[in-house]
């Protein structure tokens, strides 16, 4: 448990979330206007918290906190550069999957606590969706960890110093990207809060600080997911000429831009189709990816 730096991770979360906002604006083709965005943030923050009419106020207001916590823990496991990371556990990649798994109860709490039909529907949708998509995430992590022979993200980055994992295991990457997009509840998998279908869904009742926290959590989640993609598949900080941290930042930004761009391009996946894709295609293929990873490990990485 070396160089545990919660404050650095907190700072990274806030700075990274603003970078993600910038990226969102750029991908949307808008000219970023930080001053206006800050004014908007101030207005939202000044709005009072809403009391839902059910008595599950506690669940309602705890949910954004749990979301932010899960996102921060996931962010802390990402290896940013040699020596700069939040937590360096032996089983850090497992902790990443574990942290992402807590988005599910948070969403359920948000939907249930709001006590509005559409919000509850959103919560249950998310439950079904995430049970299906959390598994490919964990299985792909297994497939990527096998060549490294370690669950420590730093080791997984270092094993790719010659060839990035994306070239070795394209199947795993192809499964991973939609799965993490779903975990970040971004379009085209924004089923729990789909504006057009559920009128805001689980988040429709959030006002003020709650709303800001939810948005923050989503951006930090995207940052953590794209950082982990860069670390697990794109060789992390390895690269010629440029300093390691810059490589990592570039790769993370590229992955985040790809996810956001895909979200703007693709139509929203219907719930039943998303579920049948996950259970009938993604999960069997993820098992296949583990088998392939085993073969590759025996052949090349021993």
């Amino acid at each position: 448990m070396s160089d545990f730096s919660p404050l650095a991770i907190l700072g990274l979360g806030v700075v990274g979330a603003s970078c993600v906002w910038l990226l969102e604006e750029l991908v949307a083709g808008a000219r970023p206007a930080p001053a206006r965005a800050l004014r908007g943030l101030g207005t939202t923050l000044r709005a009072p918290l809403r009391r839902p009419e059910t008595y599950d106020n506690a669940l309602f207001h705890l949910a954004p906190g749990l979301l932010v916590l899960a996102a921060m823990v996931a962010l802390a496991t990402v290896p940013w550069a040699p020596g700069f990371r939040g937590i360096d556990f032996q089983a850090g990649a497992l902790l990443f999957a574990g942290a992402l798994a807590y988005v599910t109860p948070a969403m359920f709490m948000a939907g249930w606590g709001a006590g509005r039909p559409l919000a509850v529907v959103g919560g249950f949708r998310w439950l079904a969706l995430m049970l299906a998509y959390a598994m490919p995430v964990a299985m792909v992590i297994t497939a990527v960890a096998a060549p490294a022979g370690s669950l420590r993200p730093t080791d997984i980055v270092n094993v790719q110093h010659a060839v990035p994992m994306a070239l070795v295991q394209p199947l795993a990457l192809a499964l991973w990207l939609p799965a993490v997009t779903a975990v970040c509840f971004l379009p085209p998998f924004d089923l729990p809060q789909a504006d057009a279908e559920l009128g805001g869904g689980v988040f429709s009742e959030y006002r003020g600080l709650d709303r800001v926290l939810v948005t923050l959590a989503q951006r930090i989640l995207l940052l953590a997911a794209s950082g982990m993609t860069a670390a697990l598949f794109l060789a992390g900080w390895h690269g010629p000429l440029l300093p390691p941290a810059l490589w990592m930042a570039l790769k993370t930004a590229a992955v985040a831009a790809l996810i956001l761009w895909g979200g703007r391009r693709l139509p929203r996946v219907e719930v039943d189709r998303a579920l049948s894709l996950a259970w009938k295609v993604a999960n069997p293929l993820a098992i296949l990816a583990i088998v392939i990873a085993g073969g590759l490990t025996l052949a090349f990485y021993r």
């Binding site: 448990m1 059910t54 008595y55 599950d56 669940l59 556990f89 032996q90 089983a91 497992l94 902790l95 999957a97 574990g98 942290a99 798994a101 807590y102 599910t104 109860p105 359920f108 709490m109 249930w112 249950f124 439950l127 995430m130 049970l131 959390a134 964990a138 022979g149 370690s150 669950l151």
Partner: protein, 183 residues
């Protein structure tokens, strides 16, 4: 982890774990009960972390999240009053079960405290995750395969039991076909 770090993490985490575990059976809202159980077992992962078993702790976090969320789902489905709005009583034999539980807990705790456990062995580092992998895929391979087969059997058996018509293919009584309006 040092002894001090263990104590700093262990005591609050254990208190939270036991408190939420107790509250599971006090609250009358089913959603809360399930989420509190998730909190209890998730915090148990933190306790494992404090006790230098980080792999098990993270695995516990990951597993319990999925499992308990499914539990919440089923509770909301099968409970007469999932929101707990009527505050109905869902216990029977409260006094007797409480006394049995307290007696057994106290008995076990007394045994735990009074037994002369072997002296503590030095070494508090987390065991190498790789060593656990070799254990699972080496010496304990057969038992691990057995566990895997058990899961497979449970999956098949569970689907068979829960499927329409049950395991003998006998359709449910008329209430089933009429849909959910039947209470």
């Amino acid at each position: 982890m040092s002894d001090l770090a263990t104590a700093i993490v262990f005591w609050p985490a254990a208190a939270l774990m036991l408190g939420t575990a107790l509250y599971v059976f006090i609250t009358s809202s089913m959603a809360r009960a399930g989420l509190l159980l998730l909190a209890s077992l998730g915090v148990e992962g933190l306790v494992f972390l404090a006790l230098a078993s980080e792999f098990l702790g993270f695995l516990q976090l990951l597993m319990m999240s999925g499992e308990m969320v499914i539990m919440v789902f089923f509770m909301v489905m099968f409970m007469p009053d999932p929101g707990g709005l009527m505050g109905m009583d869902m216990t029977h034999d409260k006094r007797r079960s409480a006394s049995v539980a307290i007696a057994i807990a106290v008995g076990l705790a007394v045994v735990a405290v009074l037994t002369d456990w072997p002296a503590r062995v030095a070494g508090t580092d987390a065991p190498d995750v790789r060593a656990i992998g070799y254990e699972v895929m080496g010496r304990s391979m057969v038992s691990f395969l057995f566990a895997a087969m058990t899961i497979l059997l449970a999956m098949v058996g569970g689907v068979l039991l829960a499927k329409h018509g049950g395991r003998f293919g006998i359709p449910a009584p008329a209430g089933e076909q009429r849909g959910q309006e039947n209470d």
